[in-house]
């Protein structure tokens, strides 16, 4: 369908209620997508309305430039946010992410949007205090637009095609910006080969953030041990299916660790080595329980030694480290679904 269907409402119709009645919302009211608003969203994009950016599973329906813009309007985006959402659509439909599986899984993971580069400041995005929380229009509506696209175009309908047992609040909106200015290390997109001045979006399918409170430690070992211990808890997909995890570290923790001479890679190597659980405990849960040979572990992991320490991920590079948040000494751990994050430049 090249161009979106136009719905003509009676003069007595409430357009917000009309969107509810058509099943177009996430449960919150949406901004009615009128011709004028959609045209304004598209004005600076310079793209034909019927260009297909991706097909969104599980419906595998075409996400055209126009359809994406319609959902951006409904989410409350300003036109300047549109390129970020376009990039997010490109990233989350990378086959490596297995969006089809994630959209339909009983697991609660959902795509998180991480924004890097100069566009963060240009859009006034929040990378500081309460970064996962409410209060910033760009963070909130970019994340919400992505979720509306997943349900409206992808048709991941809760309880029907989206079979999440529980879901999580990030299914309304889930978008942060990295606090590059207060990070002692290269930001995520630079780690992945892009220039610092290139804006980028990373998509990672993950659970909700889990807080790691450490206000006492003043050295890298103690701090990283706390993080590793929080990561290594039973019930994570990773202990069975492996995959990727993300640590969103507050600037204060990052500063303490970097002051001890640790690079990002040092942190990842430490967490990879220490965030493990013994086989005798891992076999209590997961998909296969005591049939441990069916898990997707590296070959070097013993399937018979009860004391074998099973790694959370296959290699240090599968621990993604992002610096974000404001003052305070709290870091967050975001368990993944089982697939890697994907970074794309914002065009």
């Amino acid at each position: 369908m090249a161009v979106a269907t136009r719905h003509t409402l009676d003069s007595t119709d409430d357009p917000i209620q009309y969107c509810y009645d058509r099943g177009w919302t996430d449960g919150l009211p949406v901004v009615p997508p009128t011709e004028e608003r959609v045209a304004a969203m598209l004005a600076g994009a310079g793209l034909p309305r019927d260009r297909v950016i991706a097909k969104i599973p599980p419906a595998w329906a075409e996400a055209t430039v126009e359809k994406i813009a319609v959902n951006c309007v409904m989410a409350g985006c300003l036109p300047g946010y549109f390129p970020v959402v376009l990039a997010a659509v490109r990233a989350m439909t990378d086959p490596a992410l297995n969006l089809n599986g994630m959209q339909c899984s009983t697991h609660l993971s959902t795509p998180l949007v991480v924004v890097n580069g100069p566009i963060r400041a240009a859009l006034g995005m929040n990378s500081g205090s309460n970064v996962f929380g409410q209060g910033n229009r760009a963070n909130a509506t970019i994340g919400r637009a992505v979720k509306l696209i997943l349900t409206n175009i992808g048709r991941a309908i809760p309880g029907v095609t989206d079979k999440a047992t529980l879901g999580h609040p990030g299914k309304y909106t889930y978008c942060i910006a990295e606090n590059e200015e207060q990070s002692p290390w290269d930001p995520l997109h630079v780690e992945r080969g892009l220039k610092r001045e290139q804006s980028a979006v990373t998509i990672f399918g993950c659970e909700a953030p889990h807080n790691i409170n450490n206000q006492a430690s003043r050295n890298a070992f103690d701090l990283c041990h706390t993080i590793a211990d929080t990561m290594a808890t039973l019930g994570k997909n990773m202990f069975y299916a492996q995959g990727e995890v993300m640590v969103v570290m507050c600037p204060s923790h990052a500063e303490t660790i970097a002051a001890d001479g640790w690079s990002k890679l040092h942190v990842k190597e430490y967490l990879y080595e220490k965030a493990r659980k013994p086989l005798r405990l891992v076999k209590l849960g997961g998909l296969y329980g005591r049939e441990v040979s069916r898990n997707f572990w590296p070959r070097w992991v013993s399937r018979t030694d009860e004391d074998e320490m099973v790694p959370l991920v296959r290699r240090p590079s599968e621990i993604t480290l992002v610096v974000a948040g404001g003052p305070g000494r709290h870091t967050a751990f975001l368990p993944g679904w089982a697939t890697p994050s994907v970074t794309v430049p914002i065009e």
Binding site: T8, S11, P32, T34, M74, N152, R155
Partner: protein, 91 residues
């Protein structure tokens, strides 16, 4: 004054795929069993397969590599000559 809204939802794809026609009789039919490798799927499908064999069916079992992804083309190709396919298992 009327208001025009642009449709934000999927278009050009069916709401739901139609249900396949049901077999009128089972004797002599070839039944595919698609194991998605979830826990207990193989046991359930083994029981289902045994029952089909009792009813005079030929059973053909195949197994996906991973439960989260759509079956690979060679798996689907292996099921093309089946009269019906049973897949398992949801959580």
């Amino acid at each position: 004054m009327s208001i025009i809204l642009l449709d934000p939802a999927a278009e050009g794809v069916p709401d739901f795929l139609p249900t396949a026609d049901r077999l009128k009789e089972l004797a002599g039919k070839r039944i595919g069993l698609l194991d998605n490798i979830k826990h207990n799927a193989e046991y359930l499908l083994a029981s289902v397969g045994a029952r089909f064999e009792e009813l005079g069916c030929e059973v053909k079992a195949v197994r996906k590599k991973t439960y989260t992804k759509i079956a690979e083309p060679h798996i689907l190709a292996a099921l093309e000559d089946c009269d019906a396919v049973v897949t398992a298992i949801g959580d």
